[in-house]
C-alpha cells in the first residue's frame, strides 16, 4: 500500500506557500524537499508549509523537513509551518523542529507575520 503525498505551491510576492496533503513519510518528505529546493534555487527565501491536510507524519519525514530548514537557514531564509494538528505540533517540538522554524495556528497569521 502507498500513501502518496500531494504538494501544491502558491507563489507569493515575497515567498511561497506549500500545501501538503497526505502522509509525510520518507517519500512525502522528499517530495516536499524537491519542491522547496526548486523554490530556493529560484530565489525564494521565505517559505510557509501549510499542513492543514496532513494528519500523519513520521520521524523519517520530519528528519527531511529538518534538512530543508537547515538548507534554508544556510541561505539566510526562513521556513515556517501552520495549521498543524495537536499531535503533529507535539511531535515537532519533541524532534526539535520547533526551535528552528516558527509555527502558526492559522495561515492568515503566518502570512501577516512573515510578510508574504
Amino acid at each position: 500500500m502507498t500513501e502518496e503525498l500531494k504538494v501544491a505551491v502558491d507563489r507569493k510576492p515575497n515567498g511561497a506557500v506549500l500545501y501538503t496533503k497526505g502522509y509525510i513519510n520518507n517519500v512525502g518528505g522528499e517530495e516536499i524537499a524537491n519542491r522547496a529546493y526548486e523554490l530556493m534555487d529560484a530565489g525564494v527565501r521565505t517559505l510557509l508549509l501549510n499542513l492543514r491536510d496532513t494528519k500523519i507524519v513520521n520521524s523519517i519525514g520530519i528528519s527531511i523537513l529538518i534538512e530543508i530548514i537547515e538548507k534554508m537557514i544556510d541561505k539566510g531564509g526562513t521556513i515556517a509551518f501552520c495549521c498543524l494538528t495537536p499531535v503533529i505540533h507535539k511531535t515537532f517540538q519533541i524532534m526539535g523542529l520547533a526551535n528552528y522554524a516558527r509555527i502558526f495556528d492559522s495561515e492568515d497569521a503566518a502570512l501577516k507575520e512573515l510578510g508574504l
Binding site: 500500500m1 529538518i66 499531535v87 524532534m95 526539535g96 528552528y100
Partner: protein, 146 residues
C-alpha cells in the same frame, strides 16, 4: 460496580512500504469504537507508526512480518487500549538506544522513534533479546470527565 467490555484484534502484516498506516488505521478504528477522543487516537496512531517503522527498518527479521495485537477495554471510568507490536528479528538494547538520543527539543535527524513512542503513549515496556525478537507493549488511557 465497574463494568468492563473488551475488544480484541490480531493482525500479521508484511513489512512493506507504508504498512504502518494499515496498523494505525486498525487501532484507530478500535479506539473510535471505544469512544476515545481524536487527540488520544492521533497520539496512539503516531506511536504505532514509529514502532512499525522501527521493526521494519531495524529488526532484520527473516520472516518479514510484524505481529500486532490490540485489546480495547471500556470501564465506567474510561477506556484503555493495549497494543503489542512484535517482530522476530535480532533484538536491540533499549538502554543503549535511549543513551544515543538527543534531549527532547534538540534538533536531530534520526533515532527519535522510541522517544516519540514514549512521548505519545501513557505506558511503554519493551521485551527484547539478542536474536529473540522484540515486543513493544504500549498503553493509551482515556479517563472520562467526572
Amino acid at each position: 460496580m465497574t463494568t468492563t467490555a473488551e475488544r480484541q484484534m490480531e493482525l500479521t502484516l508484511p513489512m512493506v512500504a507504508d504498512i504502518e498506516i494499515a496498523a494505525a488505521r486498525a487501532a484507530g478504528n478500535l479506539a473510535r469504537e471505544l469512544g476515545m477522543s481524536s487527540e488520544k487516537i492521533d497520539e496512539m496512531t503516531h506511536a504505532i507508526i514509529e514502532a512499525c517503522i522501527n521493526a521494519r527498518e531495524h529488526s532484520g527479521c527473516a520472516d518479514n512480518r510484524i505481529y500486532l495485537r490490540f485489546v480495547g477495554t471500556s470501564q465506567d471510568d474510561g477506556s484503555r487500549i493495549d497494543v503489542w507490536i512484535t517482530d522476530h528479528g535480532r533484538g536491540f538494547d533499549p538502554a543503549e538506544a535511549r543513551s544515543r538520543r538527543p534531549a527532547a527539543g534538540v534538533s536531530h535527524k534520526r533515532g527519535r522513534g522510541l522517544q516519540l513512542i514514549e512521548a505519545h503513549m501513557d505506558e511503554v515496556s519493551i521485551s527484547t533479546s539478542s536474536g529473540g525478537g522484540t515486543t513493544i507493549h504500549m498503553v493509551k488511557y482515556e479517563k472520562k470527565e467526572s
